[in-house]
């Protein structure tokens, strides 16, 4: 019974890990694109806001 419990737990953990790796690989890339876009626009705004002497 305990063998079965650990076998199922390990199987589920490895399966979950593979699934999440694939999802995060795809969606994480999109998140990075948005993050850099947001930060770039923040930086541009800031630079425009600072008067040059």
């Amino acid at each position: 019974m305990t063998y079965l419990f650990w076998s199922i737990l390990c199987f589920l953990t490895i399966s979950w890990f593979i699934m999440v790796m694939l999802i995060v690989a795809y969606r994480g890339g999109i998140d990075i694109k948005h993050l850099l876009k947001d930060l770039q626009s923040d930086g541009t705004y800031e630079n425009e806001d600072i008067p040059s002497y």
Partner: protein, 490 residues
């Protein structure tokens, strides 16, 4: 004898290292402010948050420590992972403490505490967190050096050089790009680390057979390999410490909580926690399988040096080509952990301990310079401490005891700050002193010959459990005393 081949595996590792460091360095142009440097402008979305949290909490030290648990205790060694996964899911689902924390838009926990308990508590909390955090990560570098020396087959006399090179590479992109570089490199590292680990685990399961691994655990360790309650080296006190530590870490460990603080909003922070919770189980299950694999391959040959069983096992059974991917994945795991930890503790030193000096009035340029300088100083400390400190007992137990220095008091203070109106600065100070004194005394007594037998008799688990309970009692008692003596001030 290692299967690592410098002509085939070497280029795989170098391509990975070069690619990651280049990405980390290119990102620095997006860093304009201290907020960008420490929290990536609080723009982190769900999937990047998951990748970053998972990658930063899985390093070579974690992998070796958890594989050691698998080698010594079998599947019972996965117990801390079950506790962590449950704690993370519960906290993520309910938003317990993390929702009010994220909504306050603070950079660190001590900054949040100042709002409730005042400036002195903020400073003291910062000090204790940095002390516990740095002692905790002090052993990371040596473990990484040991692992790489064994798996790649270096001469052990090159250990210091290997450690220095690893640290210099990590420090370079962390110093220049801060949290932003860490997030991007964490993403790459998560994919490389996950792919490498999965390939190696599946290879070991298919090579030796799942049934054979289960049988080995049963034969070598007995029924206790599958049930921590009946394992003579585990027991209720250790399980209780695992549960306390799990909840405390999820609520207050700076590298974990910084992902909540960097998230877009409290809802995203909660979802990052909930979705990453199974990873904290995987963080123990996968290394435990490697540890049990080592037990199957070597038997009890590594009984006295169980920490080295897993790397020796991998260096012997993983074939050329695949071992390069394994080393790249372990380097990925370690780089993401070290970079996140260096930034986490430097952010507390700058934001909380140095607050009385800069008073939040320094320019962004000066703030960025100091944050970068602090990371460099932490790197030097790690190098010196990693070479100096002799590890006694299980690696995971060392991580638990050093973590408890601040986890016990900070978790108590955080819960009180969020949900107990009568909590005040006296209670907070009492919790900090009680929470730090017990584990530090234990670590010191462990190194002194005369007191060593006493530490062995009491053990780290009862000490750890006592620390959490005493910190909670101190918080309540201190607050009530102040309320009675100075009712108008509290």
């Amino acid at each position: 004898m290692s299967n690592f081949n410098w002509l085939i595996d070497g280029p795989i590792v170098l391509i990975y290292l070069g690619g990651t460091i280049t990405c980390g360095l290119l990102i620095r142009r997006y860093v304009h402010k201290v907020d960008d440097f420490l929290l990536a402008g609080r723009n982190v979305n769900l999937y990047l948050g998951i990748a970053s949290l998972a990658a930063s909490e899985f390093g070579i030290a974690t992998c070796m420590g958890n594989a050691e648990l698998g080698y010594k205790y079998g599947f019972a060694g996965v117990t801390p992972g079950i506790a962590l996964a449950l704690a993370m899911f519960v906290v993520g689902y309910t938003g317990f403490c993390i929702r009010p924390l994220r909504e306050q838009k603070v950079i660190t926990l001590p900054e949040f505490f100042e709002k409730k308990f005042g400036k002195q508590v903020r400073w003291a909390c910062g000090l204790v967190m940095v002390l516990g955090g740095l002692l905790n990560m002090g052993v990371f570098l040596r473990q990484a050096g040991d692992f790489l020396s064994i798996v790649c087959g270096f001469d052990p006399s090159y250990l210091e050089v290997v450690m220095t090179v690893i640290l210099a590479a990590i420090a370079l992109y962390t110093i220049l790009g801060g949290m932003l570089s860490i997030l991007i490199t964490d993403y790459i590292q998560f994919i490389v680390m996950s792919a490498g680990l999965i390939i190696v685990i599946l290879m070991i399961i298919f090579k030796f057979g799942w049934a054979a691994l289960l049988e080995t655990a049963g034969q070598q360790i007995g029924d206790g390999a599958f049930n921590p309650f009946i394992n003579p080296h585990y027991g209720v006190d250790r399980i209780l410490l695992d549960v306390f530590l799990a909840f405390a870490a999820v609520l207050t460990w700076q590298t974990m909580i910084s992902r909540v603080l960097a998230s877009k909003d409290s809802g995203t922070g909660k979802r990052i926690y909930m979705n990453t919770s199974p990873f904290f189980l995987a963080r123990f299950v996968l290394p435990a399988i490697l540890g049990i694999g080592a037990l199957h391959y070597f038997g009890s040959d590594f009984h006295d040096k169980s920490i080295f069983a897993m790397p020796n096992f991998l260096s012997a059974v993983i074939p050329v080509g695949l071992i390069g991917i394994l080393v790249a994945s372990m380097l990925a795991a370690d780089m993401s952990t070290n970079s996140s930890y260096m930034l986490a503790w430097s952010s507390i030193i700058y934001n909380d301990i140095m607050k009385p000096i800069h008073k939040g009035r320094w320019s962004e340029v000066k703030g960025l310079f100091w944050n970068r300088l602090l990371i460099a100083c932490i790197g030097i400390f790690l190098l010196l401490y990693g070479l100096w400190y002799p590890l006694k007992g299980d690696l995971w137990v060392y991580l638990q005891v050093t973590g408890t220095i601040y986890l016990s008091s900070m978790s108590v203070i955080l819960i009180a700050a969020c949900y107990w109106n009568r909590a005040n600065s006296w209670g907070a100070f009492a919790a900090i002193i009680a929470g730090a004194f017990i584990p530090i005394s234990f670590l010191v007594m462990q190194q002194i010959e005369i007191t060593q037998p006493l530490t062995q008799k009491i053990g780290p688990y009862k000490t750890g459990v006592a620390t959490y309970l005493v910190a909670a009692v101190a918080m309540v008692a201190g607050s009530l005393i102040k309320n009675n003596i100075k009712p108008d001030l509290s």
